[in-house]
């Protein structure tokens, strides 16, 4: 190994060490992991997404749909010119199953009376092209657009009855919950995709917002919040509360989560924390966490 390689190796070793976790964090994470597994905590929500440039720029262009669509459009335009009529109204109307009830006169649409519906009418050549164009017009762009993450293969559909369960849970939500309103995607939860290396597309037991009650999971997560609060790790506690909100927004333990949120705010002496604490105490006169909130926020009994 020459000098250059020695220097490079030293930099790389230092970066590996510098970017790695501190020793105390390693032990703490291991303890947390063991307790979460022991508490049978469900796996967190996560999404597998392709890296940027997952589809290289050198990917072959699919000319087929475009050429076919262009050819059909050209044929439709030729026939339209030959017929001497404007194609657009006819094309759209020809696709209408009730099109036989319409006639064409001087480019205006007229409802044909039932009495004359049985009479023979001129053959409608445009109908064929219209169907062709309608089909191709929808296909070509669709073929060219790559699938979005939401529709990516491997996405696991939400469990049945999720919407109704979500509604039921939302109805039990405390009006005094300090959490944000439910995300707009609650009715269509983000897909829980799987990594490329996972071999089977079987259902993943991960929960989604509104996917049913999981009181044990809620309690386990709030317990982790309390552990962080007791250790005065405010940012960690806030992070876990955020995770609670993401996973169990409107859950049965939302009032407790709200109380812990206030405790965290008071612990880190956030602006407006005492006011939030007073409001919480007013709204939850029978909360089991009243004393904890009062102590953390140094409020008079």
């Amino acid at each position: 190994m020459n000098e250059l390689e020695r220097v490079q190796q030293r930099w790389l070793d230092a970066a590996r060490k510098q970017q790695g976790p501190p020793r105390d964090a390693v032990a703490r994470m291991r303890r947390g992991l063991v307790s979460r597994i022991a508490a049978a905590e469900p796996p967190p929500i996560w999404q597998a997404e392709p890296m940027a440039e997952a589809t290289p720029a050198t990917a072959p262009v699919r000319w087929g749909p475009w050429l076919m669509g262009g050819g059909v459009l050209l044929a439709a335009a030729t026939v339209a010119v030959w017929m001497g009529v404007r194609p657009t109204p006819e094309l759209s109307r020809a696709a209408d199953p009730n099109a036989a009830g319409y006639g064409v006169e001087s480019g205006r649409h007229q409802r044909v009376s039932p009495a004359v519906q049985g009479e023979p009418v001129a053959p409608r050549v445009q109908g064929d092209e219209s169907q062709g164009e309608a089909g191709e017009g929808g296909v070509a762009p669709g073929e060219a657009v790559p699938s979005t993450p939401a529709s990516a293969p491997g996405a696991v559909p939400s469990r049945g009855g999720a919407a109704s369960a979500s509604d039921a849970r939302r109805s039990t939500r405390s009006a005094a919950s300090e959490s944000d309103p439910p995300p707009a995607a609650a009715s269509a939860p983000p897909p829980i995709a799987r990594p490329s290396g996972m071999p089977t597309p079987a259902e993943q037991p991960a929960e989604q917002p509104g996917a049913g009650l999981d009181v044990a999971g809620e309690a386990a997560l709030l317990n982790r919040v309390k552990v962080a609060i007791d250790a005065e790790q405010w940012s960690v506690a806030a992070s876990r509360l955020d995770e609670y909100q993401r996973r169990y927004d409107g859950g049965v333990l939302a009032p407790e989560a709200g109380a812990l949120d206030v405790v965290v705010d008071c612990g880190r002496e956030a602006a407006g924390a005492p006011g939030r604490a007073r409001r919480y105490l007013q709204r939850h006169p029978s909360s089991s966490l009243r004393e904890r909130v009062r102590r953390a926020c140094k409020l008079e009994p």
């Binding site: 490079q8 970066a15 020793r23 440039e53 490329s196 996972m198 806030a238």
Partner: protein
Amino acid sequence: MVERLYAEHHAFVWRVAGRFGVAPDEREDVVQDVFVVVYHALDRYENRGAMTSWLFGITRGVSRNRVRTQNRRRRSLRALPPPEAANDRTTEDVEAAQILERFLATLSPNSRMVFELAEIEGLTGPEIAVATKWKLNTVYSRLRTARRAFTQFTRDHLNEDRHE
């Protein structure tokens, strides 16, 4: 089994989470999340491909999910000090890591990712290709370019040292 995997790969997961933008005070939770996912999915893994490639995919997904909500929380926690200071690193280590960081900053994001996975994490080209879903040729091409740049950067650095 999960304990063994944790013992072997926790530092890898931690570093990858950092590369995807997870703040230091959230990485403990992300690492735990990753291994909770592993615990639930391990019976379906069936030893296909390298474990590091699989862990990379899970860590990427968990990290991106976390980063999405990270900024909102940052608003209220901006005033807080970092959760803990690294106390097991020497000044020389910090300086050496800073020099390497200066080099990494010159690379494109994708080249940087390939270089870090190869040179810092020790993944092979095929493992990186599986983890990132990039073509193997693309991986090798980026790695060659990054290594050439690294050699030039190191030469320049050594020359500067000699002149000073």
